[in-house]
């Protein structure tokens, strides 16, 4: 494994790569906050189906870099998820006890 990696890296450095004018290796997709673009979407603790998409499988709040939500709406999302957790509409952690009874 290690040998292979060494070989590939050494061969990569010895070869002359064509120079790029711009970094075309990684192009960021233009993204826009879903709540800014669609004003009809309301972030509410009662709407658990929407909030579930904004949490990971373990029940953590998904970061902005994953969902593309703007800072203002992410604050609202975090607040509503925490409210939903308090009244047991959303889990604090993954469905461990749910698995226990099944």
């Amino acid at each position: 494994m290690a040998e292979e990696r060494n070989r590939s890296s050494s061969s990569g450095s010895s070869e002359q790569r064509p120079k790029r004018r711009f970094n075309t290796r990684f192009v960021r997709k233009p993204r826009y906050c879903q709540f800014c673009s669609d004003k009809t979407l309301v972030i509410n603790y009662k709407n658990t189906t929407a909030l579930r998409k904004l949490t990971t499988e373990e029940g953590k709040i998904r970061p902005r870099r994953q969902t593309g939500t703007c800072a203002k709406h992410q604050r609202a999302v975090a607040r509503e998820i925490k409210r939903a957790r308090h009244i047991a509409l959303l889990p604090f952690t993954g469905g461990t006890w749910e698995e226990k009874i099944r």
Partner: protein
């Protein structure tokens, strides 16, 4: 007067009469503090995301309430004492 949303989770093993009784008490506390109940929404028996008081289910009620901010604290204290209510939450609208 401010508008609030009150969510309560009632113990699932109670019969309808006992639920009605505790709801009446809550309504009484709200009206005593010069408040109005605008709407009562029964969500019914729902599965909880995690256990509360060793229960997997709870009976949810959503009350739209308008009342004075000063009487909220007392309502909150009364709700914690009321035994059939497993969990409650008051949210300003």
């Amino acid at each position: 007067m401010h508008n609030y949303e009150l969510v309560i989770i009632i113990h699932p093993d109670l019969d309808d009469e006992a639920i009605e009784q505790s709801l009446d008490r809550i309504k009484g506390w709200i009206t005593d503090g010069d408040g109005n109940i605008d709407k009562i929404d029964k969500w019914g028996k729902r599965r909880l995301s995690y256990q509360i008081q060793k229960q997997n289910e709870g009976i949810y009620y959503l009350l739209d309430v308008s009342m004075l901010p000063t009487s909220i604290a007392e309502l909150e204290r009364n709700l914690t004492i009321l035994e059939p209510v497993m969990r409650h939450m008051i949210v300003a609208k």
